[in-house]
Symmetry: C2
Subunit: 336 residues, 2 copies
DNA sequence: CCTTGACACGAAAACGTTTTCGTTGTAATG
DNA sequence: CATTACAACGAAAACGTTTTCGTGTCAAGG
């Protein structure tokens, strides 16, 4: 049916071992035969069977991507990462394999490892500590994307959440705000913690005392931004600015303010995080902290590959600088 | 290193063939030994090596996804499809593999086929007829997503572009518009053609003569919606409503109108297509034609699987109904 | 002339499965 | 009792590679 190394071998009267060596650039094959073999391979349009190669070499050429499906509503975020990651992976002759279900089950992860389905894994946002434990025991190279994991042996790529939150809070303060609402998402651990710390530090640096009443805990649900905003606005003394957890929440917060007849930013300022397109197409446009997601996706793959080549390498992590983008939703002098 | 069928075999003193049969549910193994084998497999946490299985069975358990990278700026569109497709694939024990570069090169496609990298392929939007030819010659099951391909043997899943365009145009007409701007995208072939035909039919049914001056050809570029809108507005007799090719173009068209100080929909109405989140978060919200992308993604996988199980099956295609969603960008009686 | 070495090549094992086929032992049938 | 049938198992081939190791040839060196 399909063309194998044997076909080349037979037509040329050369052993399969020599054919294989010629194709793989081994030194112990003469120039003449090498050329005849390559020529014949071209003629037959031969391409090595991937399964056979994987079995023999012990490498699959596949990188697994663990994506938590509940987060799919921030699809633009994920898409941007994947776009970068896929590019780098494919440049190195690898391909990305998607795992979207049962990702939180350590059993499934272990199956992937034991079955040698992939050479490495990138975990987007998975908050499951169990998963990390499994990967380490199974000796599977992996990298965590999006969150800081201060655990020996764990590599990660993350945005500078602290600095982003600090810059954004500071900006709000310079706009005259002293009552700044803040949203957390405890399930995201360090992501939430770092932003919280940056927020608090900016307040402290401006001699504004931190008010725990202005902190709202949010969960993963479709309308969480709308709900959070309403909680802020229902307060006895509402904040004059709200720092939401990500752009889509800010969009919904805008809606909530609008539904109450409040003007943004005149009566309440709203800011987001991530810098996705959503933040750019609302009216008013949303002030946000932009993450270099595509770049981070590329870089994550690079780090993962160094790990795959030598899993004894020490873990490496990179924190990426983020950029505060000031737009109308927090700025009183309107323009653009 | 890793645990194989041999380990089970040795510990139990049972041949590997019997172990394999027990694990695969063959009938010719007694209940007693089957249970001992399964128990031991559990104890050792054995999982069959995927490469070996693929090699032997001739199936990889992988479905390739061909994604044209230049289209990545409509990432939400792709993400929605993938989300549905991945779900169905994984339910059947398969995983999605991403191919984002060199997808337009027939050589690369042929390599994927000859190397038996995947069991089937889903092509999102690829306008390359060469690719289809290669897949047919290589006898690789595939399905085209998003566009109608009236070619014997080609399965596809597509939205009802004709009906969507008809409904949308009709809606604009009932709002009193007679000069309705239309955008095409020739590179997308039937997608563009069908919408064009639906648009023209709706005009004809309302006894409005078709005016070719109101048709603007667009290309794949970042600001194409903004440019197209400006071309409309620069006309001697501009349209009073514009039917853009997709939501993001409508968003940009909104910007263009805003930049010229035009109110939407009072001075010019704007509509989109696809029904992505972008259409929902602008002010005014954008009238659009919603595609059931997630469902279509799931269904595409189902059809592909029937093809994989028996590639002699006749090609099947499904045209999905779309839904006109009327919002403020085209409606004079403002509410919501 | 003998040894050494480099060079070019092939035989064969190995990777971990699945599956065909043959071989037992035992029970049922005539 | 002889035959048949069946149940339960194992040997071995096969999938398509890669890689180790051995072998033969030939030239250079002593």
């Amino acid at each position: 049916m399909s063309i194998t190394i044997k076909d080349i071998s037979k037509r040329l009267g050369i052993s399969v071992s020599t054919v294989s060596k010629a194709l793989n650039g081994y030194p112990d094959v003469s120039e003449g035969t090498r050329e005849r073999i390559l020529e014949m391979a071209r003629e037959l349009d031969y391409h090595p069977n991937l399964a056979a190669q994987s079995l023999r070499r012990g490498r699959t050429g596949k990188i697994g991507l663990l994506i938590n499906n509940p987060l799919s509503f921030i699809s633009e975020y994920i898409a941007e990462i994947i776009s970068g990651a896929a590019l780098t992976a494919e440049q190195q002759g690898n391909n990305l394999v998607l795992y979207t279900t049962a990702v939180t089950h350590p059993d499934e992860i272990r199956r992937i490892c034991r079955a040698r389905e992939v050479d490495g894994l990138m975990i987007i946002f998975s908050p499951e500590p169990d998963v990390v434990g499994v990967l380490e025991r199974e000796n599977m190279p992996f990298i965590v994307f999006g969150r800081r994991v201060e655990q020996p042996g764990v590599s990660f790529v993350a945005p500078d959440n602290w600095a982003g939150a600090y810059a954004l809070t500071q900006h709000l303060i310079t706009q005259g705000h002293t009552r700044i609402g803040f949203t957390t998402r405890p399930i995201l651990g360090t992501v939430s913690d770092d932003r919280f710390a940056g927020y608090q530090k900016a307040l402290a640096d401006a001699d504004i005392s931190f008010n725990p009443d202005l902190v709202v805990e949010t969960t993963i649900e479709e309308r969480s931004g709308y709900k959070a905003m309403n909680r802020f606005l229902d307060m006895a003394e509402p904040p004059t600015a709200v720092f939401t957890f990500y752009d889509l929440m800010a969009v919904q917060a805008l809606d909530a303010a609008h539904d109450r007849g409040l003007r943004v930013p005149e009566e309440i300022a709203v800011a987001g995080f991530d810098g996705l397109r959503s933040s750019l197409i609302t009216k008013p446009r949303i002030t946000t902290v932009q993450q270099p997601l595509n770049l981070m996706g590329r870089r994550a793959m690079e780090l993962l590959f160094t790990r795959i080549k030598d899993n004894a390498q020490p873990s490496v992590s990179e924190i990426f600088p983020v950029e505060l983008i000031i737009r109308q939703s927090t700025r009183y002098q309107l323009e653009n």
